[in-house]
């Protein structure tokens, strides 16, 4: 038998061929319009996301300074990251600290505000908009200025503390506290999980509460036994999204420390370190390796969350 190139089926049974072709054309007739409409996104996805990601995987095994062509160095970048890079460890420490404290605090705060807003208030859209406002500000220069005004040595927070006789440090520039000011900034921007919680709360059927109150359940009991269990899918969703966001967090530290991660690298977020390596020192290969390690860390955490969700997330069905 001769070896034929794939796809050329000169003497294949005619019947089979007709089935494949008509299968394709049926598929195309049914879904073609949809894919045509999707094509801008697909182009972007393959051209701007998957393509560059694969190139960065290649670059992570090279030395690349942008000015000269990349040269392959095998696993040298990864070896250095894991054996000889104290800043990598520091960046991991800072990032984990940030994730561990900012995500739960933000979720609890967002849930509390959502519960308060879900009591049939008049003018709800206005409150919702006001509470969402900080999230819209994102991480801008305005926030950097505001945070300095609040948390510098002669800032507003210390002026308030002085009223009760406490002399505070310069929170934002002290290596012990600087990261905490960034955790606070993250918690303050609780708008998007709050909106999602609010939508989740709205979906809980009122008759359950009615039935519970007829049975004489206290408010706390209703929260524990009705609200929380029925809200777990939303909590899960928010937790996953916020964790990923926190791992990727970049701009707050970038604007507040002008990209330095100081004092003493105490706000050196992982992505900030990656940025410094790539665009401060032009070590694109090394930065690509850092990026892939972050991807794996985030994927691992997301995977763990999904595994754990079997034990605590209740879906209606």
């Amino acid at each position: 038998m001769t070896v034929r190139p794939l796809g050329v089926e000169a003497d294949a049974p005619t019947a089979g061929r007709t089935v494949t072709t008509s299968g394709w054309s049926r598929f195309w007739r049914k879904n073609g319009t949809g894919y045509a409409f999707l094509s801008p996104w697909l182009l972007g996805f393959f051209g701007l996301t998957i393509g560059p990601a694969l190139i960065s995987l290649y670059l992570s095994f090279t030395d690349f300074n942008l000015l000269q062509a990349p040269t392959l160095v095998g696993d040298a970048n990864y070896v250095r990251i894991f054996t000889a890079d104290p800043k990598f460890l520091q960046a991991l420490r800072v990032t984990f600290f940030f994730v561990v404290f900012s995500v739960p605090a933000k979720l609890v705060f967002a849930l509390l505000v959502a519960l308060l807003l879900n009591r049939g208030l008049r003018g709800l859209p206005i409150y919702r908009a006001i509470f969402y406002l900080p999230s819209l500000l994102g991480a801008s220069v305005a926030i950097a200025v505001l945070w300095r005004q609040l948390f510098a040595g002669d800032g507003l927070i210390n002026k308030l503390l002085a009223l009760i006789g406490i002399t505070g440090p310069s929170w934002i520039s002290n290596p012990r506290y600087a990261l905490w000011t960034l955790v606070l900034l993250s918690v303050w921007q609780f708008g998007s999980p709050m909106i999602i919680f609010l939508a989740g709360l709205r979906q809980i059927p009122q008759d359950m509460y009615e039935a519970a109150s007829i049975d004489g359940a206290s408010r706390w009991r209703m929260f524990r036994s009705i609200t929380l269990p029925l809200l777990t899918p939303v909590i899960f969703f928010n937790a996953v999204i916020q964790t990923i966001d926190a791992f990727k967090s970049f701009t707050p530290a970038f604007i507040i420390s002008s990209g330095t991660g100081n004092p003493i690298n105490s706000t050196l977020f992982y992505t900030l370190y990656l940025y410094q390596e790539a665009f401060g020192y032009f070590r694109m290969g090394y930065a690509s390796a850092l990026a892939w390690i972050l991807l794996i860390i985030i994927a691992a955490f997301t995977g763990l969350s999904f595994l754990s969700s079997r034990f605590w997330v209740h879906y209606d069905s």
């Binding site: 000015l67 310069s170 520039s173 002290n174 002008s258 330095t260 003493i264 665009f279």
Partner: protein
């Protein structure tokens, strides 16, 4: 006559244009030279630069210049990306810190072939010509000389009743001024400059050392670093310089420096930044030399090219670009527009011609750089690759670790040398 398109014509027209663009046809006018230029700097610098470009194109009607500018931090990634993509502009503003790297990688072109022809440097100060050389070849045309300088809040010194520092002031004089400043209680005498690389360099040079040797190794040792960190520890403990909490507020931009924040009367900076500092402050400021380590100690300062014009290695318009460079640094009218914003012009006749028209502060800067006297020493070789990481990152980190009490100067000195050598030895 009014110009009108119907929809079909418009579509046809734009499709044709897009198609022409796709196959690389540009509607070009045969004799025009389209130069591209890129630089970092403020709006003020951009206005002056385009002012010169207008004069140049008026004198050379066939030359067109497309210009773009960025802030310092955005500039280098942008330029590196463009160069990597084979799309570098012809005329590139270059810094002393990067010129070796760009020259060694042929990202910028040697200019020796143009000198004496398109590029006229006969009137240039020799140190400014030499400052643009890498491995004996000329890679950058200096756009002006500057020097490190202290920015001094003169009102604060008057209020404290202490004479304003001048080119003879020593570290001990500043320490002696501490009591008077602390009595007023508004601000400290000086910022904490233990993490400021130019301050360390100046101090080392007065002791006959340097930051780097010509072959790119460290030119000082752990003992020097420990002594430097101890000098500042002493000043910190005695309340001469600002607290670590305050100093850490300074993350780089001028508006966060201790003198602008009103935390100290002196900040370490550059001679061409006087105008920029004054614009941010109500109190009057002036410039003077970095402190001497002892009475009569010499040679801490040097006049470095503040920045260069270089020509891209990929540029096909080398001789046209060289003609522009020559105009930029020699033409009197052009330099009247430029002033001393990029530094003190390197051509003697240009300096003489523009001096009378300068503002009072520009004159202060011009006089300072021209009259450094015995403070002036030879220009050091450009720093090696990776030296930027020592300046931006390691210096500051070690300084803060000592300031916040995490490490003693005795431990930090050797630690600094070890980590700096690691950084310098790193490839890529």
């Amino acid at each position: 006559m009014s110009l009108r398109f119907d929809r079909r014509q418009f579509l046809l027209g734009s499709t044709a244009l897009a198609a022409a663009g796709a196959v690389g046809l540009k509607p070009a006018f045969a004799d025009d030279t389209n130069l591209r230029q890129i630089f970092w700097g403020s709006k003020a610098r951009a206005d002056r630069t385009t002012g010169v470009n207008d004069l140049f194109t008026k004198a050379n009607p066939s030359d067109k210049i497309a210009t773009e500018f960025y802030a310092w931090n955005d500039y280098w990634p942008k330029l590196a990306t463009m160069t990597g993509g084979g799309n570098a502009p012809d005329i590139i503003q270059m810094d002393y810190r990067y010129i070796v790297e760009y020259a060694n990688r042929q990202a910028i072109a040697p200019l020796d072939a143009f000198v004496g022809k398109e590029l006229d440097l006969h009137d240039f100060d020799q140190d400014q010509v030499d400052g643009g050389k890498v491995g004996g070849k000329l890679y950058g045309v200096s756009l002006g000389a500057n020097s490190v300088a202290l920015i001094v809040n003169t009102a604060a010194f008057k209020e404290a009743g202490v004479p304003v520092p001048d080119n003879n002031t020593t570290f001990d004089d500043l320490i002696a001024a501490g009591a008077a400043f602390n009595k007023v209680g508004k601000m400290k005498v000086i910022q904490d400059a233990s993490g400021v690389e130019p301050a360390l360099e100046n101090w080392l040079r007065q002791r006959g050392k340097a930051l780097y040797t010509a072959d790119g190794k460290l030119a000082f040792d752990a003992g020097d670093m420990t002594e430097w960190l101890n000098l500042w520890k002493k000043m910190r403990d005695a309340g001469i310089c600002v607290s670590p909490d305050d100093q850490a507020l300074d993350t780089g931009p001028l508006d966060q420096t201790m003198v602008v924040l009103g935390k100290a009367a002196i900040t370490f900076a550059n001679s061409n930044q006087l105008v920029a500092f004054q614009a941010l402050m109500k109190d009057p400021v002036t410039i003077t030399a970095f402190p001497r380590t002892a009475k009569g100690s010499k040679g801490g300062h040097y006049r470095k090219p503040s920045m260069f014009w270089s020509i891209a290695g990929q540029s096909k318009l080398g001789s046209d670009s060289a003609k522009y460079l020559s105009y930029f640094v020699n033409n009197i009218d052009a330099n009247k527009v430029l002033g001393v914003e990029r530094g003190i012009p390197a051509s003697a006749s240009v300096r003489t011609a523009i001096a009378p028209g300068l503002s009072a502060q520009d004159q202060v800067a011009l006089n300072f750089v021209s009259n450094l006297g015995d403070l002036l020493g030879p220009i050091p070789p450009p720093p090696p690759s990776n030296a930027g990481e020592i300046d931006i990152d390691l210096m500051l980190k070690k300084s803060q670790e000592v300031a916040f009490g995490q490490q003693s100067p005795e431990d930090a000195g050797p630690d600094f040398i070890k980590q700096a050598n690691d950084i310098l030895a790193r490839k890529g």
